[in-house]
Symmetry: C2
Subunit: 338 residues, 2 copies
């Protein structure tokens, strides 16, 4: 099968690899309908994370079930399914608590930029998308596999509720989806922090009421100005570097919440400063599986359209250009068609 | 009036100072019925915090209103009152949000180990204790002024609710009061981390169901053993050093909460580790004022008896011995009678 492999920083190739196959009776293999490049793939692509050897890329997928193991009961061949980037049994105590990305049996679903994908723990991981699914919904269903689920978790972790003022740090696909989540959860004021016009426009389309172009402590000061000197009720940190975390913490009101979903790189939080701020902090790899049934329904009923974050669509064979476009910020997010 | 003054590390004297007096029309002056020494006073006493000059001590008080400024309407001379260590207007946005210790007009109420105390913003700060108050309730009312309110906030910040398993790090007065709070908020399993028999006994009397004597990662491992390998739903960090914070974070289940009320000294939190733990963190100086009316009622109806943390009572003039006894861990907490 055709699949992407990262060989060294900035060197993505599409190659022939062995076709994904069942390994456990709880596995499924799906034929990929659509996959994509994630902002977090760029940490590897840019060499920020070490690339130890040839590395199959991608962890987002929507596809048709091709084959299931003997113990799989919840999905069957031919069904359209979407799943999270972490396989989970969905029955262990951590899953029951809503943290499927901390499942006691979790397994990363890698190598998804490929024609076929092996999904472990299929019963706990995959969600069947019912009915005849319109082609126009495919990008949004794909977004639910990670960025929409991650933006949703940022809002849930920051306890966004009706009437809240929410600020979003980061205008990548996750940050833009976090705007959708904040709106769906009832926020009445949503401040997108972005200095890129196309992303500002999409943020507004998704529900942002204000745009702040300043960054760092200047950005935080602007958030305070917009909120009567107090700060936002909730701030969604969707980047993951020390500056963005400081910006988030300093933009939040006493008693407010930061939900952080950008994988932290070099972030240290000063205990004393956090203490006196009264700000709460929850982050982590989003338990997308917890939100998927609800998100799929919101997509199919047309309530949300997170697929709009894909502003570049390419055949899988042109994945290298898809990575480049995102690295150079020419594209927000690249959808790949096998 | 007689009052304690810290002159240098380990050098507390009781001296004559000018009697507390009204400075603003919103002030009250109270005649102290009881005051005490706080665990946080020991940071100064031991020289961990620099002692720049002679420093009046104490920030906990219950007393009779002696005099009020011309704008004070909610309390009047002769009434028994209790208040927080931070004066607050109780009307600004931060107060309305329940974070009175981040009041836009907050003012620290220091020098309370004295016969009289000036309390700024009396209307927003003081809570009248109604009726004829039995002498036996005075220590518990005094505890509400800080340690009981702080233990309560630890539990609220950690979102303790019915059926939860809660671990408490720290067996000082705040940790012991946090056990009371966890029980009152419905926790069914409360694990006190303590290696001192009298404190273990008081923790059990207050509602602890288990005691763990190990510390650090060994202590955290023991909490995991006691919770099916998962960790506690909520951990209340009542110490404030790097080891206790690590112990708290490592004792919490994915998706659980740490409430931290020990003033952090040298605590740094690694963003990446916090991220992958899925643990939420909220701390800060407890907004005691938010809880005071409820806590006073629980004391007067005999539901809670946090005054038991005072295992040493001395006349104010012997305050130096009160500090020494706590420093040497001969006493949990010292009550002083002016």
């Amino acid at each position: 099968m055709r699949a992407t492999v990262l060989h060294a920083p900035y060197e993505v190739r599409v190659e022939d690899r062995p076709k994904a196959a069942l390994q456990q009776p709880t596995d499924a293999v799906i034929r990929t309908v659509a996959t994509c490049v994630c902002g977090s793939d760029l940490w590897d692509y840019r060499g920020v994370n070490e690339v130890a050897g040839p590395m199959p890329g991608g962890h987002e997928y929507v596809g048709l079930v091709e084959e299931v193991g003997s113990e799989v009961t919840s999905v069957k061949p031919g069904q359209l399914v979407v799943g999270s980037f972490f396989a989970s049994d969905n029955t262990c105590p951590n899953c029951e608590n809503g943290y499927q990305t901390n499942c006691l049996h979790r397994e990363f679903v890698g190598g998804c930029q490929a024609e076929y994908v092996r999904v472990p723990l299929a019963d706990g991981t995959l969600v069947h998308v019912p009915g005849e699914v319109a082609e126009e919904h495919i990008p949004s269903l794909l977004a639910c596999s990670d960025v929409m689920g991650t933006g949703w978790y940022a809002a849930v972790a920051a306890q966004v509720g009706p009437g809240d003022t929410v600020a979003v740090v980061g205008d990548g696909a996750v940050g833009l989806c976090a705007v959708i989540a904040a709106k769906e959860l009832g926020a009445t004021r949503i401040i997108a922090m972005s200095r890129h016009t196309p992303r500002q426009n999409l943020a507004r389309e998704f529900g942002a009421t204000d745009v702040v172009t300043k960054r760092g402590d200047e950005g935080a000061a602007r958030i305070k100005e917009l909120t009567g000197g107090i700060g936002a009720d909730a701030v969604l940190e969707c980047v993951g570097n020390p500056e963005s975390m400081q910006q988030a913490l300093h933009s939040t009101r006493p008693g407010g919440n930061v939900g952080f979903v950008g994988v932290p790189h070099g972030v240290q939080i000063d205990g004393e400063e956090l203490f006196f701020s009264h700000v709460a902090l929850r982050g982590g790899p989003a338990p997308v599986r917890a939100f998927l049934p609800d998100l799929v329904e919101r997509v199919l009923t047309g309530r949300i359209n997170p697929g709009k974050v894909f502003d570049l669509e390419l055949p899988l064979d042109q994945a290298a250009e898809g990575y480049r476009a995102m690295d150079e910020r020419r594209a927000i997010k690249t959808l790949l068609r096998p």
